[in-house]
């Protein structure tokens, strides 16, 4: 006897085990036992079948699609934000004649970030080998297009500045290297300014409610987060006596604390994923590590002795770095939750925080 020939190329076993198969059984069982259903999309007073109502939309099925991005994108937001801010800080430090070592380290952060960023972005493309398709056009109305060109400009200039610095460190300074270093640094400053916060525009101008509701805040929020991370990285690398870095770190921490208040204080249903459920918890952890914790540590370091102050600032630095990364993860997570919520795009007001 030969094997029966499947009539379609479908993994029947997988289909039978699927979540939806079980769900249908659950619905039938519940209808049989209780004579009524109370799950989302059902009408308790009606038949034991789910019904579509103005309260439940189309059986509570999400209208919007979830972001298709994987782990590379929140990591890219973090790396890009920190690298962009480091590029700006490094250039300004150089122009104002600050400690050479600080300038050098800021350049390295920008350069390393400018290598990792495109790699992460390309890795997330559905067709990574087609990255260059994005360089066919420049579309001002597409934040993704503007962002890619900004990334390209920042990466090239930051890498050039760091490369020139590396060569002049190793083989001694020369005029061409100096020109390359200064030109790269100037361009790194110019591109770093938008690069440090454009990712806020990128997710702000989308159809995902929690993101577009925050469109006016996200770039500021992400910019402060990136600055906090860049300052944190420099402090972790040893620059714990720089008053300028302390001031910038305090500024970023104060801004992030205020952002936390904004999120916690808003009653708008679109921002619910930032306050409730798993995405809410991640948002709170990220917010605490970016705002109040480094703020308190930095304030304490102002009054502490020399050594204690340094270790407090190192802790503040690590906290801001972790907070920046977790904040980006939290916003992407909240975007997923928001896209799954069928009520927002259908303007359904009745908001219970039960179904998550």
């Amino acid at each position: 006897m030969s094997e029966p020939i499947p009539f379609r190329d479908i993994d029947i076993e997988a289909a039978i085990d699927s979540r939806r198969e079980r769900r249908l059984e659950e619905i039938r069982r519940e209808a049989e036992v209780r004579g009524r259903l109370e799950i989302v999309g059902t009408h308790p007073a009606g038949a034991p079948f789910p019904q579509a109502t103005p309260e439940s939309g189309y059986y509570g099925m999400p209208l919007l699609k979830e972001p298709p991005w994987t782990w590379e994108i929140p990591l890219y937001f973090f790396v890009g934000g920190a690298a962009g801010a480091a590029g700006v800080v490094g250039a300004i430090a150089d122009y104002t004649g600050a400690d050479r070592e600080l300038v050098r380290h800021a350049r390295w952060i920008a350069a390393v970030g400018s290598v990792i960023s495109p790699a992460l972005l390309i890795a997330d493309l559905g067709r990574p080998e087609r990255f260059l398709a994005m360089l066919r056009v420049f579309k001002p109305q597409s934040p993704m297009s503007v962002g890619v060109w900004t990334l390209l400009g920042f990466s090239t200039s930051s890498a050039a500045a760091a490369f020139a610095q590396f060569l002049s460190d190793r083989y001694g300074p020369s005029l061409p290297l100096r020109v390359l270093e200064k030109a790269g640094q100037a361009a790194s400053l110019a591109f770093g300014l938008p690069f440090s916060n454009y990712t806020g525009v990128l997710i702000g101008a989308t159809a995902v409610p929690v993101w577009n509701r925050s469109a006016a805040d996200l770039p500021l929020h992400f910019g402060a987060s990136g600055l906090g991370a860049a300052v944190g990285l420099l402090e972790v690398m040893g620059h714990r006596k720089s008053h300028a870095l302390q001031a910038l770190g305090l500024g970023a921490a104060i801004f992030e604390t205020l952002e936390g208040f904004r999120i916690e204080g808003s009653a708008h249903p679109a921002l619910e994923p930032l306050r409730h459920g798993a995405s809410g918890r991640v948002t709170r952890i990220g917010g605490a590590l970016s705002g109040p914790i480094p703020l308190l540590l930095r304030a304490a370091s102002l009054f502490a002795g020399k050594n204690a102050g340094c270790s407090l600032r190192r802790m503040a630095g690590w906290s801001a770095i972790a907070g920046s990364l977790i904040t980006r993860i939290a916003w992407i997570h909240a975007g997923h939750v928001s896209a799954r919520d069928w009520r927002l795009p259908l303007d359904i007001d009745e908001h219970s925080s039960s179904e998550r």
């Binding site: 298709p68 559905g126 990255f131 916060n197 806020g200 500024g251």
Partner: protein
């Protein structure tokens, strides 16, 4: 060559899914697997990368005087969903490769040989139509049968529809037809019949309009779809302010720090 559109009339749809099948056949789209949703006869859920036409089965509490249903029975309507082909299309504006274009027929078309799968169109569609194909990596949606229209044919779904629930034609003609049909339905007692045609919203108008019964939200049709470009001004203003603050803050911090000791701690 004219600007064309779909008019999908849910009062004529019998839920046969011929449009779904015809679409898959013509465009060579893979199946969606065997899955039970528990929601009426809709085991597909929504339009997506492998479903460009999708028949919704809208079971609702009884509507008095509804068709041939008994009074105590739930009412049952079907409606074939599709990409709306917006006038101000979020996906088209968002696409960083220029892969998504407006065709001469007014439709929104993703050129599959240009798409690099960045996924930004997916989060930019206010109707949740575009989806990335997990195996292929690129974004897919209804092509408005661009190839068939080029050849002077009507889209496969409209051609296959046995009840002419899916009508295809010039957009102005269809708008007028839709208006007449709604008036006719209301004369016949279907007072809840209405046209879903989001002209007044920021998506401008769509090249797919729908005749529905009752609240369009039960068909998962958003009452106020917004093209995400409306958020650009706010967001870029915020970005410019953030850049200004960063530049000013850094200058201030380092200038006031000048002359003070700022060496490394080690």
């Amino acid at each position: 060559m004219s600007v064309t559109a779909f008019l999908t009339d849910s009062t004529l749809c019998i839920g046969c899914k011929a449009c779904e099948v015809a679409c898959k056949e013509w465009n060579g789209i893979s199946d969606d697997g065997l899955d039970w949703s528990g929601y009426s006869y809709d085991n597909t859920g929504a339009v997506g990368a492998s479903t460009w036409r999708h028949v919704k089965f809208v079971e609702r509490p009884p509507i008095p005087g509804f068709g041939g249903n008994a009074a105590e029975q739930f009412s049952w309507t079907f409606s074939s969903d599709v990409c709306k082909h917006c006038e101000n299309a979020g996906c088209l504006e968002a696409c960083p490769t220029g892969s998504i274009v407006r065709t001469e027929f007014g439709g929104v078309f993703i050129q599959p040989d240009v798409c690099n799968g960045c996924g930004f169109c997916v989060v930019s569609c206010p109707f949740g139509v575009v989806e990335r194909n997990q195996k292929d990596g690129r974004a897919f949606k209804c092509t408005f049968c661009y190839d068939r229209q080029k050849a002077g044919l009507q889209p496969a779904c409209a051609k296959a529809c046995p009840t002419e629930s899916i009508k295809f034609g010039k957009i102005d003609d269809l708008r007028q037809k839709a208006q007449e049909r709604v008036e006719e339905l209301q004369r016949r007692g279907m007072n809840d019949a209405q046209l879903y045609d989001p002209v007044e919203t920021s998506v401008g108008a769509t090249h797919a309009i729908f005749i529905v019964r009752g609240d369009p939200r039960t068909y998962n049709l958003p009452p106020n779809p917004e093209v995400p470009t409306v958020y650009l001004k706010k967001a870029w203003t915020s970005s410019a302010v953030a850049a200004g603050l960063l530049l000013g803050g850094a200058l201030l911090a380092f200038l006031t720090d000048r002359g003070r000791s700022n060496g490394r701690s080690r």
